[in-house]
Symmetry: C6
Subunit: 175 residues, 6 copies
């Protein structure tokens, strides 16, 4: 990795970690690394699950999305440019949003309905390929709901990191 | 399971049971448990079918949906947040609603038509994958009818549990 | 079968039989039974084909649909609720309507066109799965024509059974 | 076959034959039969191709459609009801119309374009199942062009048989 | 082949050859034949490629379409009727038009985009069956662009053959 | 290759190279060749990656598209006609644009969403064939975003080569 890439990875992982610390309901961070493990993982932020989980609430699922988007938002804020490094995070975040809307009945607009059946274990890096059991119109609303949810999460994360940044800056000014 | 999860499961199962007791036409409850059996079933509410059934009426199918939605509605009422625990219930409820509309001719808007053929045994946790024999426009109406039916059931269940809650509270006041 | 189910089956089969008797062009009834044969057939109404048939006219196909819908309409009239017992009848009726419209050129709106090719023997309980050789717009019109045809048949059967019911009642009064 | 069916077949085949005689460009009739050959062919009208053909003009293809529709139109005129007997004729007529429009560039509205590739030998009783290489909008126009062509042919055949009928009747009056 | 067919083939091939001679950029004609080779090729017009080609310009691709349409336009002009003989020409012309638009970025409306990947060798008589990687709306625009291109080519060829015909006629008058 | 083809290839490769030199962020050119290697590669422009890359920023991905389009734009400018030679460049450019929009969350209109999963190694000359996990409406927006991005890149490249051309010409005038 060249210095610019290393810097990008560092800010990206710090973004994840900061959001994990600042967002209520997110699992605490146990470790951050920017030592690459293979081509796929240039760095990682490890969260400490304090216990095994059987149920996830809506708020907890949102907290996962917040942390996932934290890396990308940090890149936006620091470099004014974005990289391909968020690809995997975006996939996971989209998958959680999709599952909330199509399987857990967590979209008010679509209601208490299960549009899709059980899938391979959550957070696998594969998109589902099952043929749709609903209409094109419903698929359009699902897409809109996924986008709306992710846009709200994106804005929320940006706000949190922005205000955190100000506080950091002011503290830095103190030194 | 952590205490919060246990509490969620307890209220969820109680929701099923209460609706089964309060809704006319639903099978009586024989057993409730919040001792997990594997990862998939964190708790269960057993209803006692008083006899083998060969025919189900529209009212009886609706009663099944009411009981299925009871768990989720209880979570909404008690926690103001919802969990992933209703996933299986929503699938079953959606499947019943879909079958009523596409196979049993129970949607006035679509009329006495069989849009889909026989399927694997009802209440299997797999969505059907057969290619559609009808137009996108009809698929859209099917989706609307499923949503409408489930929204009505959701409201009905909420009303029943709400008024039951009041009565429970007032009785509790008496103690 | 519990008594309610038996009663439902009895009225259902009587509905088939009455329509077969009252509708001109329908084959005469030779036998009615409400002794179940397996889970699938809880009762049956046997019509006597007076001869082997090679050609069916439009009127004769309509007569078949009338008889098929008779069971369900009887349930509607007697119980004010409907059961899953009409599932197979609805499939057959839909299949006949579909074939009239897409293969026999019997829809004025679609005209003298064969939208679908030959299929497995008529009245099989499987819907066809062949990929469509026509546009979504034409599929929409096919669905509308099927619905229109079945709604007209439904109304016709209801009218016939209603007026028959009145005559039966008045005769009963005479006894 | 019962007498009614025999009569239907006789008029149906006579319809084919009359159109073949009356339409310029149609191959002359060599034989008519209403002795069934298997279940599929209850009768047939044999046209004598005076020679092997390598090319067909637009007019000759139309003449084939006219003859194919003649049987059904005869049923309409004589019985005021139609039968399933035209199923195979409609398939062939639709297939010719479709090929003219999608392969031979004979639709002015769609222009000199080949929307579909070569198929199994023309006039086979199987509809094509190849995935579409064009848009839904084009598929809609193809359907409209097929319908328009067949409606025009239907009207033309009806006119020819109607006026022939008048002449026949007046001649009969002379006897 | 009957005399009419032979005459059709002769004019059809002459149409190809004339366009090849009259259109700038088209390869020169080396041989014309109306002796059939199998059922598929009733005649042929051989153009002499003066060299192997690795690149084709937009103008050269258009010239190929012009020559391909020449046979059909000749039929239109001479007989006022068209035959099935242009089927293969239309397929090739459509395939070239489609490739120009979806692979070579030669449609201004769609822009510098590759909507489809590499295919089997150009000018094969098989349409591509690969699943679409773009939306229905884009497919609609592709169809419109193909039609527009072919209509323009059709008009251009008609103009060229028409004015050539006048010159031929006036020369004939001189004899 | 004939002289015209050679000239086309030379200008095409020079177009790639010039853009690579003129665009900030593009990898420097190490070698240009117009000696064909097989039928597929009539010439090539080799860029020197100064280091292995693990992350690509948005600007770097755009720079790749600019260089890819440079060959085609050179053809437009020099010959006023375009050739099939850009086919492979357009595929790669489209694939990069598509990936930016559907996997890297680099389209503001679609937002921070992963519409498609991981694919075979980037820049492979095969379009993806995976079934879509989103609605037709979203597919339409994806197509519009891809087109918009490529049109902007096309314009940018044209501007850069145009102004470079002027400078070249003025320098040439100096000789």
């Amino acid at each position: 990795m060249n210095p610019r890439e290393k810097k990008t990875v560092a800010y990206h992982e710090a973004g994840h970690a900061l959001v994990a610390e600042l967002m209520p309901g997110a699992d605490p961070v146990s470790k951050i690394s920017i030592i690459p493990r293979g081509v796929a993982a240039l760095g990682y932020t490890q969260q400490l699950p304090t216990e095994d989980r059987y149920l996830m609430t809506r708020s907890e699922l949102l907290a996962r999305i917040y942390v996932l988007l934290g890396g990308r938002v940090a890149e936006e804020m620091i470099f004014g440019d974005v990289s391909t490094g968020a690809q995997n995070d975006l996939q996971k975040a989209t998958e959680i949003a999709r599952t909330m809307i199509t399987q857990f009945g967590m979209s008010e607009r679509l209601g208490l309905v299960a549009l899709e059946g059980p899938r391979p274990p959550m957070f696998l890096p594969v998109p589902t390929q099952a043929p749709r059991d609903y209409s094109e119109e419903t698929a359009r609303i699902v897409d809109e709901e996924i986008k709306k949810l992710l846009v709200e999460c994106h804005n929320r994360v940006r706000d949190v990191l922005m205000s955190s940044d100000k506080r950091l800056k002011s503290r830095r000014n103190c030194f």
